[in-house]
């Protein structure tokens, strides 16, 4: 057959945290329908298999375990592909996310992080970006330049607000988040610099080489048909985001 065993019933149970715009999120609190790029991708895959995706929303930490308890068949939640996870589950990488430097759209000068010297950056507290800034400051110090002034805020939305207010010169975030915010507020923000490091998101399922193969093929089919590019454009995500190896 051309579809996985679990899709044969006509419904595809997909677990997600539902709180990661623009990948999957509720447009308004209390909405019944999830939306987002990843939601569209999963729906497209389900359509290929002649099934309908049914989203099960749960706490992020409990997503993978619910594959074992058969409460879901797929996990698609902007979840990173890591070796440790691949030991227990099968995963298909399909999305590469980069760390970016987000600045106000009026900023013409900033080309690299070093241009932040002596300026104020708003950073989400408790993230690895704090270390990114610390490293940057070390570089600046050795070059004899002023360090970056860093303020930390408890939420991702809080830091972007600081740019909008005009207080912070920039922030560091994922390109997905940046794309989403830029879509929400056209002409307010722009990406000044994209870091080399990237994270790869994917779709997880229970260990089964056949199922994994078919999932991979379904994604590749979307790539080839141009449907994936259309979705990327719809959610204003970088056109190259899905150009990642699927193994």
């Amino acid at each position: 057959s051309d579809k996985p065993e679990f899709a044969s019933g006509g419904t595809l149970k997909v677990c997600t945290a539902g709180d990661f715009p623009p990948m999957q999120y509720y447009k308004n609190p209390g909405d019944a329908e999830l939306i987002g790029f990843e939601v569209d991708v999963v729906n497209a895959i389900a359509k290929q298999w002649g099934a309908k995706a049914e989203f099960v929303v749960g706490d992020f930490k409990g997503l993978l375990p619910s594959l074992d308890s058969q409460r879901c068949d797929l996990v698609a939640s902007g979840i990173m592909i890591t070796p440790a996870r691949l030991e227990k589950y099968d995963g298909v990488p399909y999305f590469g996310s980069h760390v970016v430097l987000l600045v106000p759209s009026t900023d013409e000068e900033t080309k690299t992080p070093e241009d932040m010297s002596g300026k104020l950056m708003a950073i989400e507290a408790g993230t690895t970006y704090e270390k990114t800034v610390a490293d940057l400051n070390a570089t600046l110090a050795s070059a004899g330049k002023d360090p970056v002034d860093m303020q930390t805020y408890p939420s991702a939305s809080g830091v972007i607000e600081q740019i909008l207010v005009g207080r912070a010169a920039s922030t560091i975030t994922q390109d997905t988040t940046a794309a989403f915010r830029m879509m929400q507020m056209p002409d307010r923000l722009k990406i000044a610099y994209t870091y080399d490091e990237s994270e790869t998101y994917g779709i997880y399922m229970r260990k089964n080489p056949e199922d994994r193969r078919m999932a991979k093929e379904a994604i590749e089919a979307l790539q080839q048909s141009g449907e994936m590019k259309a979705l990327l454009a719809k959610w204003s995500l970088p056109a190259t985001s899905t150009d990642v190896a699927h193994d």
Partner: protein, 225 residues
């Protein structure tokens, strides 16, 4: 810039209303129980024997001192480890939040009521006692009305603080007004509309309280110049 439509849908939408209802029910029930308990504590602290005073003093010290967040976490995560009773299904986040906030609120209200009771002159109690009124009648009819006149503004202060403090219960997964608002903002990024809508709810609740306060104060101030 300000999307008035979104603002009205936010206000009249179910999620925020549900959050507000939770906030309201939780605060009102905590306040009601705490007032009763704190009345006894306040009386005991003001007139009781030394060990009693000391005991209540320690209680107040502990529960005014410990941050609400820690008490919430302790009640929710710690108690189930201490006794299987708290692992049963009735021990929902709401019950845990009620218990934790009540423990704290009692401490604050005890202090307010203790000092208000003390502010009512001894002569008033003597006047009532000489008429043969029992201790409880004296308390309810003479001391309490005069003490409340002094205490009501502070009690309403604490009620309002409690209304806001319920938002801490988000750490034990209770989705009250402020939590709902912040989730909505995290995705929609519409600060003004959502915060505006939440503000309307809070101001509505506080307005009712403020009005009630001024009515109660007016009634209790009759005869006092």
């Amino acid at each position: 810039m300000f999307d008035f439509n979104l603002f009205t849908t936010a206000i009249f939408g179910w999620p925020l209303a549900k959050g507000a209802l939770l906030t309201l029910v939780l605060s009102v029930s905590v306040m009601a129980v705490s007032l009763v308990v704190a009345t006894f504590f306040g009386l005991a602290a003001g007139s009781g024997k030394k060990p009693m005073r000391w005991l209540i003093g320690s209680y107040v010290w502990l529960f005014r001192g410990a941050p609400a967040l820690l008490i919430l976490l302790f009640v929710w995560n710690g108690l189930p480890q201490l006794s299987p009773v708290f692992r049963a299904t009735w021990f929902t986040p709401f019950v845990a939040a009620f218990l934790a906030l009540m423990l704290i609120q009692v401490a604050y209200l005890t202090e307010i009521l203790r000092s208000a009771f003390a502010a009512v002159g001894k002569g008033q109690r003597e006047g009532a006692a000489a008429l043969g009124l029992h201790r409880w009648h004296t308390f309810i009819l003479i001391t309490l009305p005069q003490a409340l006149r002094i205490a009501v503004p502070s009690l309403v202060n604490e009620f309002i603080s409690l209304l806001k403090a319920t938002s801490l219960a988000t750490v034990i997964s209770l989705k009250e007004l402020m939590t709902v608002t912040q989730f909505a903002i995290a995705t929609s990024f519409r600060f003004l509309e959502w915060y505006g809508a939440a503000l309307v709810y809070y101001m509505l609740m506080v307005s009712v309280l403020t009005f009630a306060q001024s009515r109660i104060e007016a009634v209790l101030s009759r005869g006092h110049r």
